[in-house]
């Protein structure tokens, strides 16, 4: 177990820079999730930690060592791949034992470690089978078992659940959490699924286009997004965004009509162009004093526990979430307002949050 440090890590392919200076300090035993949309560079970042990609700039340290020049086998890491990467011509036991065998671990210790991992992952009856005889979930568990027996300093997960169906994914999330509790190993986990990120992470790194937009705990990222991208990426259904301009202290005049009040903050000077962000659950029906958005109901989604009402107004579409059945009908006019404390303001140009 060890800490991992990334200092201003960059990656370029030829002249094109794809990862722009990411820094991260992972403490011993932490479970870090790197989340972002496809193509944001999260897998590339993980592979640089693993040694599967060259590091163009910056430094990566595992434990006390800078590992930039070290080969993957010397970095004391283990990796779980998206497509499991199990050796098809070896049995489950041999797959898990492979790394230990290479390092010259004595046979009885190999057996002890494999049995232990098999126990944790419920693989004991499958040890003599070949990968092609296993289901997707079983294969993924074997891949995890292979990582566990090595007792590495860091676990690396590259979208391990993406190839599984939805139900299996939920189940495997628990397995991963259980595994982390049992082993306490520092882990770096890459995914594009923000639900996985929210449930598994101690801390999250939200990435977009090669940059780390925010690093923080799930609740921090949810309640206190640093940028518009983070606010929109985390949470489902997505946050509502409407463009507008600050008309007066505490009030935003929205493009297309309507006004929203917000809790006062430092750099919200009058005239500034902003994007207002409000989560669907923080909107209520009914006009406030001198504020509100009025629009026509375009769609109502009854989800059972919640109702999502889509309201179309001149500035776009706003979604309102209410925890009960809606009494409105499509075509009705509705005015809604927001809790000022829950209104986020983002700079209309950079997307940075105005705090």
């Amino acid at each position: 177990m060890a800490k991992v440090q990334l200092r201003n890590v960059t990656k370029s392919y030829g002249t094109q820079e794809v990862i722009h200076g990411i820094s991260l300090d992972v403490t011993d035993g932490e479970f870090i999730v790197i989340v972002g949309p496809s193509g944001c560079g999260k897998s590339t970042l993980l592979r640089m930690v693993a040694g599967l990609e060259e590091i163009t700039g910056g430094e990566i340290s595992i434990g006390e060592r800078v590992v930039n020049k070290l080969e993957p086998k010397d970095r004391d890491i283990a990796m779980v791949f998206q497509n499991y990467a199990l050796y098809p011509h070896m049995s489950v036991f041999e797959n898990m034992a492979y790394g230990l065998k290479i390092r010259g671990v004595p046979k009885d210790e190999i057996k002890a470690r494999v049995d232990l991992a098999a126990g944790i992952l419920e693989l004991a009856p499958l040890l003599e089978r070949r990968p092609r005889q296993l289901s997707g979930g079983q294969r993924q568990r074997v891949a995890m078992g292979r990582a566990i027996v090595r007792k590495p300093a860091v676990f690396l997960f590259d979208e391990p659940l993406s190839n599984l169906d939805a139900k299996l994914r939920v189940q495997m999330r628990f397995e991963i959490q259980k595994m982390h509790r049992e082993t306490g190993t520092t882990s770096l986990y890459v995914t594009h699924d923000q639900v996985e990120a929210m449930t598994l992470a101690h801390r999250m790194v939200v990435m977009n286009a090669g940059r780390a937009e925010q690093i923080g705990s799930p609740m921090e990222v949810y309640d206190d997004p640093a940028t518009q991208f983070v606010a929109g990426f985390i949470g489902s259904p997505a946050k509502n965004f409407v463009k507008g301009r600050i008309a007066a202290p505490g009030v935003v005049e929205l493009d297309g009509g309507g006004r929203i009040g917000f809790a006062q903050r430092a750099n919200a000077e009058a005239g500034r162009a902003v994007t207002v962000g409000v989560r669907p659950e923080h909107l209520v029906a009914g006009a406030g004093q001198g504020e509100g958005i009025t629009g026509t109901i375009e769609m109502i989604e009854q989800l059972g526990a919640d109702t999502l009402t889509h309201i179309a107004h001149a500035g776009g579409i706003v979604i309102l979430r209410t925890p009960h059945e809606s009494r409105n009908a499509i075509g009705d006019t509705l005015t809604i307002r927001a809790d000022p404390a829950r209104v986020y303001l983002f700079d209309a140009g950079t997307g940075a949050r105005l705090r």
């Binding site: 693993a50 040694g51 599967l52 080969e71 993957p72 086998k73 890491i77 283990a78 990796m79 791949f81 998206q82 497509n83 990467a85 050796y87 098809p88 011509h89 492979y98 790394g99 290479i102 390092r103 070949r130 990968p131 092609r132 292979r146 090595r150």
Partner: protein, 293 residues
């Protein structure tokens, strides 16, 4: 494996297959059955008298020391061609796969020998290794080897093996390269993370996973050595010296044209047919196994 949609016509399908069926019947089935038939006969050189002798021809062949020698020669020849051909091509394919730059250039430069006719390849090596004029002969003499394949049976075998392997390198290389590139990168990466260096990765992961390709190429190379190499023998050693390079297919030709023993030649053809069929069956069986893990 059937199409869901078919057309209906009473005459069209027959018209479409007719050309191929006609050619196949006339130039394949008829001659093949003739060969089978003739192998059971004894005819004199002018086919004036014909006698049905059942398997006497075959029995004579297996009692004929020259035929058995030819069998042995063919076995040695095909073993050498296969082993050398596969090893050299695998080596080249492995490095062509690893090289980051220039992979495509190497590939182009290594595949064109396939297009050279075996006869032409033989002539080229005959020229290189000509006992009096050959450039390579000169070089061998300089390092103390007296080269004359017209007199030395072992050297004659070396010559034909070299020519045969030279031509086959590209074919093997291409298939090995394709096989290597079909192995998922993540397997190699996982092995690297597990601690395996390049050599170990190759022998414990890549090579086992390459076995379908290897086996397939083994069968193909053996078939190649048995049949496609006729031209090499004819164009270089003529089966000599003293029958040292008379492989089975060459003997069929020799006995048929020079000795004019058509029945023995036919019987030899039948035996060769049996061997090819056996090899083809093995190949089909294994190609099915190619459906991976």
């Amino acid at each position: 494996m059937e199409k869901r949609v078919v057309f209906r016509s009473s005459w069209l399908p027959y018209a479409l297959v007719a050309p191929q069926m006609a050619i196949t019947l006339v130039f394949f089935f008829w001659p093949a059955s003739q060969a089978l038939f003739q192998s059971l006969l004894l005819q004199d050189a002018f086919a004036a008298k014909t006698q049905f002798v059942w398997f006497d021809n075959f029995r004579d062949l297996f009692n004929d020391p020259r035929y058995l020698a030819s069998f042995r020669t063919t076995a040695v020849f095909s073993a050498l061609v296969t082993v050398l051909g596969l090893s050299i091509s695998l080596l080249l394919a492995v490095f062509a796969d690893r090289v980051v730059r220039g992979a495509r250039i190497y590939k182009t430069l290594l595949i064109w020998p396939y297009a050279v006719a075996t006869a032409v390849a033989a002539i080229l090596f005959v020229f290189l290794l000509n006992p009096t004029l050959g450039v390579v002969t000169h070089f061998l003499r300089a390092i103390g080897i007296d080269w004359n394949y017209l007199l030395n049976p072992t050297q004659a075998m070396i010559l034909v093996v070299v020519a045969a392997v030279w031509k086959q390198i590209s074919y093997n290389f291409l298939f090995f390269l394709a096989g290597l590139q079909a192995i998922p990168r993540s397997l190699v990466e996982a092995a690297a993370i597990d601690g395996a260096g390049p050599s170990r990765r190759f022998w414990t992961i890549v090579f086992p996973l390459l076995s379908p390709t290897t086996f397939f190429l083994m069968v193909v190379n053996v078939v190649y050595a048995f049949f496609d190499t006729f031209a090499i023998i004819d164009a270089s050693t003529g089966g000599g010296p003293v029958q040292a390079t008379t492989i089975l297919v060459f003997k069929v030709y020799q006995d048929g044209t020079q000795a004019l023993d058509l029945n023995s030649s036919a019987a030899q053809s039948v035996i060769l047919m049996a061997i090819v069929v056996a090899l083809s069956v093995i190949q089909f069986r294994y190609v099915e196994r190619k459906v991976q893990y």
